[in-house]
Each structure stands twice: as structure tokens, then as C-alpha cells.
Symmetry: C2
Subunit: 304 residues, 2 copies
């Protein structure tokens, strides 16, 4: 197969909305154009914003940083060392390689230094605690350092398998909440998913085409079989009917208002422990890592 636009061999077959084959060079152009169009469509970013990109070491965040840099945005990188054996070291290596290639400031925060513990140490649902932790630390860092927006690498496949999971479990509250841009409020920075509409497969192909450093090592605590089944299923459907994944997302966007039932009437306030914006007295980060105990101890020590 030849590229649709030149005589070079096909590197990728795009299947939707039209079936076209693209060589490596034309694919890179195509991919960057798709991302640019997403950014415009959802008014995701401005060139004068100070942007913090979350990089875990995996392809999605790395490609996000890469392409934003290439498109001329003002970015810096943010990484959390979670202290997971056989994963965190490898991740850090990949992140450093990326920062060097991009010649971009890299900020690394060490979970153990902040909480006294690593993800390894914690009991219970590691994935959900890890999610809370990353969102919190990243937001706090960005807020304190004067960034305007946080970028994460969530892609189309992440979004739709999350939506599907919430439908299967009828988590109505979560179903109202997927969007490419979450506006800033209180001490929460604006959050943007630049790959909201972009297929994971294309991100991988772009990473390979551009020879972007990233690691494929997976966290040993990574989500279980069910999430993988959602992804496999949606990709199986996509094989039968090209575009169904994107159409599912668009249909969701059009109908998500149906799930906005209980108007959330509560006020955000400041966490009593850390002072960041919180829905309750103590924010979920401080609760999960039991930082109120630490604080109490400190106060008790002061009292003596």
C-alpha cells in the first residue's frame, strides 16, 4: 500500500471517517493537525498560558508534551515518583529522557517525601488512591507555581471505556462528568485532555514515528481484567464498524445532560489540613494519606 499523498509506503491506515493510507511523514502531519483541531474545537488552550504537562513515563503524556512543544505552547513537565518497585525507576528514566530531548523543565515530586509512604505501603484500592494522589499533587504544584492549566494524556479509549464502565454500573454521578476541558475554580487549575478524541493506537504510532522516548512497563497494580475487557470490546466493535468509538463519545457528549440530575448544591471550602480546595472538611488526599494525624502530632508536639 502506498501513501495517499506521495509515493512512500503506508505507515498507518486511517479508517474513519475515510479509509486512507499514510506514510510516516504524512501521518505525522495528519496527527498534529487532528490534535490542533481538537484544541481549537474545544477551546482548550491559549498560547500565553503556562502549561504543566503530566508525564508518567508512558506514551500518552509524553506524546502530549511532545506535540504541544512542537505546536509552540509554553510547557513544563511534571512527574510524581510513586515509589513502586520495578516501575517508578523505569518511569523516571523515561521522563528524564523526554525532558532532555524536549529541552523542557521537569519537576519531580516524591510521594514518600510528602506523605512518608509510597503506593506500595498503602492498603486498599491502590488505583483509586493513586488517582486521587496524582490529581492532588499535580494541582497543588501547578497552583503554587503559578501555572494556568494542567494537561493529562487521557485518550479516546480511556474516556469511552470509563464512560462504558459507568454505564454498566449506572454510576450516574460520574456520567455527568466527562469533558475535554474542566474550567478552573477556587484553587483548582483548569484541566485539559488534549487527546479526548484521539485513538490510543494513533498516539502509539505517532510516538514511534517521532521516536519519542517512553516506557511500556506497566504498573503491577494496574487496573484489572474488567477495564481491559471494556477496551477490547470497544476495539472489536470498531473493527466491525469504523468510527463507532468516536460516535459513542460524541453521542455521550450530546446526551450527558440526561445524567445531570441532582444539582450539587454544596460549597467548596478549604481543606483543614492542607488548605487546598475541598468538597469536605478534609480533602480526599489528606484523608487517604492520613495527613490529619501527622498534623495533630505536630500540634501536640508544639503544645509540649
Amino acid at each position: 500500500m502506498k501513501c495517499r499523498f506521495c509515493n512512500s509506503p503506508s505507515y498507518v491506515e486511517i479508517r474513519y471517517p475515510k479509509k486512507i493510507n499514510l506514510c510516516k511523514e504524512h501521518f505525522i502531519e495528519y496527527f498534529e493537525d487532528r490534535v490542533k483541531k481538537s484544541i481549537e474545537k474545544y477551546k482548550m488552550l491559549n498560547k500565553d498560558e503556562k502549561i504543566l504537562v503530566a508525564v508518567s513515563g508512558g506514551k500518552d503524556g509524553h506524546v502530549a508534551a511532545w506535540i504541544l512543544k512542537k505546536l509552540g505552547y509554553n510547557i513544563e513537565l511534571f512527574h510524581i515518583n510513586l515509589g513502586i518497585k520495578g516501575f517508578s525507576d523505569e518511569s523516571l528514566r523515561a521522563v528524564k529522557a523526554l525532558a532532555e530531548r524536549l529541552n523542557t523543565p521537569l519537576h519531580v515530586v516524591d510521594l514518600k517525601e510528602i506523605t512518608g509512604k509510597t503506593i506500595e505501603d498503602i492498603r486498599g484500592k491502590k488505583c483509586s488512591i493513586c488517582g486521587i494522589t496524582k490529581r492532588y499533587l499535580m494541582n497543588k504544584f501547578g497552583y503554587e507555581r503559578g501555572f494556568d492549566v494542567i494537561i493529562t494524556g487521557h485518550n479516546l479509549d480511556d474516556e469511552i471505556s470509563f464512560i462504558l464502565n459507568n454505564v454498566l454500573n449506572w454510576n450516574i454521578r460520574y456520567l455527568a462528568k466527562h469533558e475535554p476541558v474542566l474550567p478552573a475554580h477556587d484553587k483548582f487549575l483548569k484541566k485539559v485532555k488534549i487527546f479526548f478524541e484521539i485513538d490510543e493506537y494513533l498516539i502509539l504510532k505517532y510516538a514511534e514515528a517521532e521516536e519519542i522516548p517512553f516506557t511500556t512497563v506497566k504498573c503491577k497494580f494496574a487496573e484489572g481484567a474488567i477495564t481491559l475487557k471494556h477496551r477490547d470490546y470497544l476495539n472489536e466493535l470498531e473493527k466491525e464498524r469504523s468510527g463507532i468509538k468516536l460516535q459513542f463519545l460524541y453521542g455521550y457528549m450530546k446526551n450527558r445532560h440526561l445524567f445531570k440530575v441532582e444539582e450539587e448544591d454544596f460549597q467548596f471550602r478549604e481543606c483543614e489540613v492542607c488548605g487546598m480546595t475541598s468538597a469536605g472538611k478534609i480533602c480526599s488526599f489528606c484523608r487517604v494519606w492520613k495527613l490529619y494525624k501527622k498534623k495533630r502530632k505536630k500540634e501536640n508536639n508544639k503544645g509540649k
Copy 2:
């Protein structure tokens, strides 16, 4: 493995809500009890109702008829000869065998006699036309012969794969419409799905345990790969988490009101061609089979 209640070998493993093994005899008891409980829970049927059971030749309708007869309901069988080569003959044979075993009246309606055509002859979406046709003919027959209720063999897997498909395509109108009992209105009879909550696999095991005659020949026009993928996916999830199929259905039932958006304000009326209840001037059956042309021809001939 032994039966939980006796010393006989296990015939079926029930996985939800508790894991139990049952011998053939105790499984039959269990299955009939489950169906009885569904009938009570949703107030599906009364013993004094005249019940028409749709039998296609496949296991679901056959098991429905079998168990209702066993439970002492007043049933008769209804079958439509669709005129599909290699399928309809085999189906009719199975249906006749069932009627004989149950010693129950069987009514067979021939599509070609009514419309002049078979499903083979029709162009376009055969499955959806077949669905319209079956619903219409069965309702008309039941209405004219004084039946109170129509039973179809739709099972849990049918329901949830249909719901899932409607979610994937965001067919909001259809999403408000799944229920085990559809009350009668105008010339529409009450319609009941007694296997609304019953797993297809258990229906098959019951059919085999009771040695109920049925055919496994599939219609060559049967729904495509996508529907099968929905079913496979849901069964894969069930393997990971027992009960997820049923919980998905229950969650749907609890939340389906969310999809009732546009209040349907139209009046039902009588089809101008056949006189049955219809949403439009001409009912979908008469439209699909172009019976208005026939009528017009007749009238033209009369006029001469």
C-alpha cells in the same frame, strides 16, 4: 461436584447470588421457582388469563410454553411461517413436536398467505422487518381471538445486549422502553417477557434437562456480528464478576426514567389499511409489506 441438596452429580453451577451446584432434578425445581418468582415480582400473569405464547422453534419460546403449562397457566401456541428456506420448515417441525408433547393448541399463520410475500422476497433490513411483522401478526391474531396476553421468550441476554446497543448508539427513545410487562392499550394486547431476568444459559440447560423439543437452526438472516459481540462481552464480564449482567439490568430499571425526556404527545389511531392500532396513518406492518397498494388495487377494481 455433588448437588448441594442431594448426592447426585452436579448438572449446573449457579454462580449468583451464591455459588451452588445443582443436580438435574434440583436444577429443574430451582429454575421453575426462579421463573415463578419473576412472574410474581412483576405481576406478569394471572391464572384466569388466556395466554398466547410465541414459539419460533427455538429454545426460549419453547421453554416459556413448557414452564407456563407446567405451572398451570392457560396457554396456546402461536407460530409464524416466515418462508425462509432451510429454516422455516425446520422451525415448524419443532413447533409441532412441542405442541404434541404439551397437548396444546397450535396456531400457525403463513406470512405468504397474508402478504403475498415471504421474508426472502423483501429487500432492506430483514431483521427489523421481521420483528415488526412478528409483533404485528401475533398481536392481531391474539386480539381477534380474544387472548389477554402475549408471551415472548426474550431473556436476560436479549434485554441487556439490546440496552447496551442502545447506549452505544445513544438511542435515547428506545432506552426508556424496556420492561418485563407492557400493559394493554387500544388494540394492543398486554405483552410479557417471563424470562426478563433469566440467563439464556439456564434456559438452555432447562430445555435439555426437560428434553423439550426445539431447533438450533439459526435464521440465515440473523443479526450480525455486532450483536454477538455485545453478548460475548457481557458474558466475558460475567465471568470476571458474577451477577454483573443482572445488576446491569436492575441498574437500568432503576435509572431508565432518566431517558424519558420528550413526552410522547401523539395519539394512537387506527391504521387506514388494516384497522389495528397505529402511531401513524398507516401502521408499520402495512407500510413495510406495502399493503396499501393491495388495498388501492382492490378499490380500483371495485370501482370498475
